[in-house]
Symmetry: C2
Subunit: 319 residues, 2 copies
């Protein structure tokens, strides 16, 4: 039986490797998504998700996450949650509630605490250095401080044809307190229906939510488009619309799979990377290019892979 | 030149009357939406929006609101905000920011405070009585306390063919702290594109966000469906999908207009009311019925109108 798991960015690799093992041994898509995203959340050198995530302008790490079950369409999400180790697990638990499935701020923390989730100070020394350096480089010079918004988003199909999706992010670096992007927003940051397929997005949340890109991709797959066609079409449509109406489009990148396990990817930036594993393909990192609304991708070279990890783990100095 | 404003529920009538005056005298759709929703927020007897809104399970009034500009597609939203008089105005202001447009909890309050928005204790004596009675009737007897989730959602078209949409709600009565429904969620609670049309939804947010109904309606209008066809089709699709996958569908009601000012409405419940005004129609309340996936509506009788206000303003006793 076939299975597939796909995820945004190279940082998902170690998680996808674990998720793939689960799927290979007939684990379900929900467990694979949660396990895979937890691994990304737990790795301290990935600075846009979970532990080690970069803080908001007040120096607080505020996290967003969502989980969707493609069979029941149940959704759980948290936004602006602080001091909990694994937001994806809280989101999954919320997806099992009848109502009150999307909780923000203090309410999300109350729920997590009452349900026994692990408390953790998510701010690392490394993130503090990055925060202080960013202040010096931008705010102190009167420049806009915003940069970086790499959400991990995943979609999985298991051997029982059941699908799930999840996202997790610390959001825009230097965001204002309470700022939420698309990652917790159904239809924008994620959407999955086991009878069709699923999609997840990363980029500038404020722009992605103007096009409901994840819902649109799943809808296009339902109409008969291949995952690759659906992804290119949805990203192209939104990119063009934003340029027409606003003169510029923020970063938009998506990955998707249909319920046969075929995958697609699209981006309006250079250098978007993603990870995919199937019953036929060991977990592989690809790097994308976008030309005239068509996305192409190549397996990441070993040089690219080495540089990636070197850059992330390089010692940081306070400026 | 033609103009139209449409809104969910009878409670929007007084607001729509004011919004219609603005539109008639060439005011813009954004001002009409903000003014109209502020009136609903300010009226103390409407228990699901703004001042007088029912509290969460902790006895706190937590509000959600969103604003979308159909020209630029700019979106502003707040979720779980406490102690501010007019969430819709905060959402509109956020829609003018480049980033950090959707703020939740404490962060939304920080922003509102720094931007000079009026503070107000939104909890009324009447809401306290309803809260205490609800506890006695449900929680004390081991029953589920959740009931009521009537969002005011509006869409307007002005004489310059510019469109806007807004929502405001206190959310599900007795919700958990921080719970957010569809009202602040782009594509689910609202969506508007001045070149096509706009839609807004009310009902069980946890279910509406499983279908991105507002985005879907606008998309269907783009494909050529009339507003009425688009509304019926989107609500019917989601209702059927929820029943198929979950055995039951929560309340879903929508109103929409296209960029010619033609309107549509659809619901899967009995008794959904809405208000519409155009250059040809004084502000009018309609009450809906739904049969076999087709929504029909009639002008509310004077008896219905009298009963509505009597029920809302009737003295309340602590049980």
């Amino acid at each position: 039986m076939s299975w597939t798991i796909i995820a945004t960015w190279r940082m998902a690799l170690e998680g996808v490797q674990e998720g793939a093992k689960l799927l290979e041994y007939k684990g379900n898509s929900e467990d694979a998504i949660e396990k895979a995203i937890k691994m990304v959340e737990d790795f301290p050198y990935y600075k846009s998700v979970g532990y080690g995530g970069l803080p908001n302008e007040n120096g607080e790490v505020e996290l967003d996450a969502a989980f969707m079950d493609g069979d029941s369409l149940s959704i759980g999400a948290v936004a602006g949650i602080k001091d909990f180790k694994n937001p994806i697990s809280i989101a999954r638990k919320l997806s099992e509630e009848k109502v009150n499935c999307f909780l923000v701020g203090q309410g999300a923390e109350d729920y997590a605490h009452k349900n026994g989730f692990e408390r953790m100070n998510m701010l690392t020394d490394r993130a503090i250095i990055q925060y202080k350096n960013r202040l010096k480089e931008t705010v102190d010079k009167g420049l806009s401080p915003y940069s970086g918004h790499d959400t991990v988003g995943m979609v999985a199909l298991d051997q029982n044809n059941s699908m799930a999706s999840g996202t997790s992010t610390s959001g825009l670096f230097m965001k204002k307190r309470g700022r939420t992007g698309d990652s917790a927003i159904s239809g924008s940051g994620f959407y999955v229906d086991s009878e069709i397929g699923g999609a997840t997005a990363t980029g500038l949340g404020e722009d992605i939510m103007k096009g409901c890109s994840s819902y649109e991709i799943v809808r296009l797959m339902k109409e008969g488009y291949t995952p690759q066609e659906a992804a290119d079409k949805a990203v192209g449509q939104l990119n063009d619309l934003l340029i027409k109406r606003r003169k510029k489009a923020g970063d938009i990148s998506v990955v998707c799979i249909n319920n046969k396990g075929e995958f697609g990817v699209a981006t309006n930036i250079e250098g978007f990377s993603f990870v995919v594993a199937t019953d036929n393909l060991t977990p592989t990192v690809y790097v994308c290019s976008s030309k005239k609304g068509k996305t192409s991708y190549e397996v990441a070279t070993s040089e690219w892979m080495d540089n990636y990890m070197k850059k992330r783990t390089a010692p940081l100095k306070l400026k």
